[in-house]
């Protein structure tokens, strides 16, 4: 009887009544698992992000997305911003969304690039198709937001095409001539090559039909008055001519996205990494501290004097850590000294633009593209 009473007492005892278990928050080891990737010597662990809203329901912790919680905790800090490269931190966002932005930056933000090349004369040793391919890859500094897409049925007009001309000749008896991208000249009035039309209805007095139908000069439009479209970098070698060789062609640039062809990708590349967190699990002193500092190739650790002639190691620049794992190589005692971790919701984004748009505009456009995709899904569902 006394035993039964004892058992009943035990059942009423709950682990949550213990004084040192925090209610409503996760215990520290689970919090570590949820928010940090731990990089061990062999492989990283806890790499997946725990997204399910009910993941910690048994602990009374709500893992669901509260939009206000996201809005309050989300931060952006710009580290570096030049005309071509930008580096910034996004804190409080999940990997799925950061990756979506990266993928969109590389493949779905539109740009202008040369698509059709009309070759009138090419006596150089660079083949037609090779030359056209190289012309397509030249970055064009034109704002793609001012243009419309051109589908197969459309006529090329001033709203969807930019026309460039390339006419170079190497003099006989002269040295070899290197054709650089500054030889591409913008034609604001459209194509100059006349189409061969023998239809009876066209009178001989009307303007000859060309390969584009521009209704007005492009440089009369207000957007192009001050910034003429053209190659962004003027020293890209396109072809080399020997004496007596000539190239005469017209190149039409249209709007497209990187998914179709990489020439339309607006970024050289865009990447992100998670913020590194380097933690010293034990006190590291004297010789071991010197050894640790020497091991790190990017100088993450520093030595400081703590008095009595003793030195100890501190983590000075964790952000520079490249995860080479030199500091934990060499046996168990090294693995127990340093913990290499990554913060799961802190991303260091780097965007390198090819020049059509500045990198901060590119990122804004990428976010707009994701919003448009969501809207398309919502309209499809309704």
């Amino acid at each position: 009887m006394a035993e039964n009473e004892g058992k009943e007492e035990e059942k009423k005892f709950s682990i949550w009544d213990l004084p040192d278990v925090p209610m409503g928050k996760l215990p520290p080891h689970l919090e570590l698992q949820r928010t940090r990737v731990v990089c061990n010597v062999d492989a990283p662990i806890h790499t997946e992000s725990i997204q399910y809203s009910g993941a910690y329901a048994s602990m009374g912790v709500d893992n669901s997305l509260r939009l206000d919680h996201f809005s309050n905790n989300f931060r952006v800090e710009v580290v570096r911003l030049t005309e071509e490269v930008m580096e910034f931190d996004m804190i409080g966002i999940d990997a799925a969304i950061a990756n979506a932005f990266r993928r969109i930056l590389i493949a779905e933000v539109p740009t202008m690039a040369i698509e059709k090349v009309l070759i009138a004369n090419n006596t150089s040793i660079v083949q037609d198709e090779v030359l056209s391919h190289r012309l397509g890859l030249i970055p064009i500094s034109a704002d793609p937001r001012l243009f419309e897409y051109m589908s197969d049925n459309d006529q090329p007009n001033e709203k969807n095409t930019i026309v460039f001309k390339l006419h170079v000749r190497c003099k006989k008896g002269g040295p070899r001539f290197t054709v650089k991208s500054d030889e591409l000249k913008w034609l604001p009035q459209g194509s100059e090559f006349v189409k061969d039309s023998r239809s009876a209805t066209s009178s001989s007095n009307s303007k000859p039909e060309t390969y584009t139908s521009f209704t007005c000069r492009q440089d009369s439009l207000p957007d192009f008055v001050n910034n003429a479209p053209g190659p962004k970098y003027l020293d890209i070698i396109t072809a080399i001519l020997g004496p007596g060789q000539e190239i005469e062609l017209e190149a039409h640039a249209v709007k497209g996205i990187g998914k179709t062809h990489a020439k339309w990708s607006p970024v050289g590349t865009a990447w992100y990494r998670m913020l590194p967190e380097v933690v010293l699990l034990k006190e590291v002193e004297d010789d071991v501290a010197e050894e640790l500092k020497r091991r790190c190739p990017v100088n993450v650790f520093d030595i400081e004097d703590i008095g009595n002639g003793k030195k100890s190691a501190t983590v000075a620049r964790p952000r520079d850590c490249t995860l080479c794992r030199e500091c934990i190589r060499g046996g168990e005692e090294w693995e127990k000294r340093v913990a290499l971790r990554r913060v799961k919701d802190h991303f260091i984004f780097t965007i390198e633009s090819t020049g059509a748009l500045p990198p901060e505009v590119l990122f804004t456009e990428a976010v707009k593209v994701l919003e448009d995709k969501c809207e398309r899904v919502i309209t499809d569902l309704s």
Binding site: Q51, Y52, S53, G54, D62, N63, S64, L65, L67, F70, S71, F74, R75, V76, E77, V78, L81, T82, E83, F88, M90, I93, D94, A96, I97, N99, A100, R103, I104, A107, E108, S141, A142, D143, D182, N226, N227, A228, P229, G230, L234, G355, A356, L357, P358, E360, F363, T364, V367, K368, L370, E371, K373, C374, E375, V377, I378, D380, L381, S382
Partner: protein
């Protein structure tokens, strides 16, 4: 677009065309965070077809509504990201004055 039983609207598979991991993973993340969802996932039947199947199972609400709400949440998150980013860039430009950027000028 929605494939499921006609009687039970709380579980359904949505087949989206012209989409890939970019949108599907982001939508899956927002769906997971919704407390009404018991199960969600996405798959790409073949990498050459641009088609994504998103499966949603809920605790009773129609799956279509839950997916719509998740897309709305994702849109709101994007808007918030954009405004925070623009503010941060403006602050950076004010505190680090650089030369006027000349895009298009050679």
């Amino acid at each position: 677009m929605e494939h499921g039983t006609f009687t039970d609207h709380s579980s359904a598979t949505f087949s989206l065309t012209e989409e890939d991991h970019t949108l599907a993973n982001a939508v899956r993340f927002t769906l997971n965070q919704d407390p009404r969802v018991t199960f969600c996932g996405y798959s790409i039947p073949h990498p050459s077809d641009a088609r994504v199947n998103i499966r949603v199972q809920t605790t009773g609400d129609p799956a279509r509504e839950v997916l719509k709400d998740a897309c709305q949440d994702l849109m709101l998150m994007c808007r918030h990201v954009r405004s925070t980013f623009d503010k941060a860039v403006d602050e950076f430009k004010i505190s680090n004055p650089v030369e006027e950027m000349n895009i298009g000028k050679k």
